[in-house]
Subunit: 130 residues, 2 copies
């Protein structure tokens, strides 16, 4: 099982582990909701926004907690989540910037091959055409 970040593990392992924690669409959406709210959000609200089964969300929240990306705060019968550090939001922002750049470039390549009549598309994985 995965361990917490700790100084006796090389940083690249810890870093890979961090990305593993982020590698699911529902977890990304959850973090983005928390990020945009700027403050805390209850599990009930998350359930409303994400529209899934409670236990399913809870599993993903557990992963986010394990990776220390969010903190939970129980008040009464409700549990409120928030980003554990502002740097989590930074990471999402930088990731979006990279993706937009990749998309921009891909589309530029499509456009240029379109304008070369008779040549099939080939760049990188445009080859697989998906």
């Amino acid at each position: 099982m995965d361990r917490l970040p700790s100084s006796h593990r090389p940083l690249y392992e810890v870093k890979a582990n961090l990305f593993k924690g982020l590698a699911h669409p529902l977890r990304i959406r959850t973090l983005e909701i928390l990020s945009q709210s700027g403050s805390e959000v209850s599990v009930t609200e998350l359930l409303d926004e994400l529209g899934l089964e409670a236990s399913h969300l809870s599993q993903h929240l557990a992963v986010l907690r394990k990776h220390r990306l969010v903190t939970a705060d129980r008040r009464g019968s409700q549990v409120f989540y928030r980003l554990a550090y502002p740097q989590v939001a930074d990471l999402l922002t930088v990731a979006r910037a990279l993706l937009l750049e990749i998309l921009r470039e891909s589309q530029a390549q499509l456009a240029s091959t379109d304008s070369l009549p008779g040549l099939g598309s080939y760049p990188a994985d445009a080859a697989t055409g998906r």
Copy 2:
């Protein structure tokens, strides 16, 4: 199978997919080597630095290529890799900043609970009580 970033998929799926591409220690090390070199690095050099079997490295390079994080350039019998975008390095930098913050905080909490005699440790998951 995973698809390329494309505009007809919601961004949070694409983003999760990006993190999946980063979620392995060898891929992180590879990207860091490319990032630090500032320029291109041959597969042979990567093999020397990483010390693993060629086919194993090649599989991970294929993943990085599929995610458009690196580009490959064949010259003669050698293949040279480089980061596809400077933003890839940015992403690693921001990830490191976040991890260092998490580590810093964890150790601060350890220190403070040590100095509060009689109190059990509770940080992070205090709310869920675990």
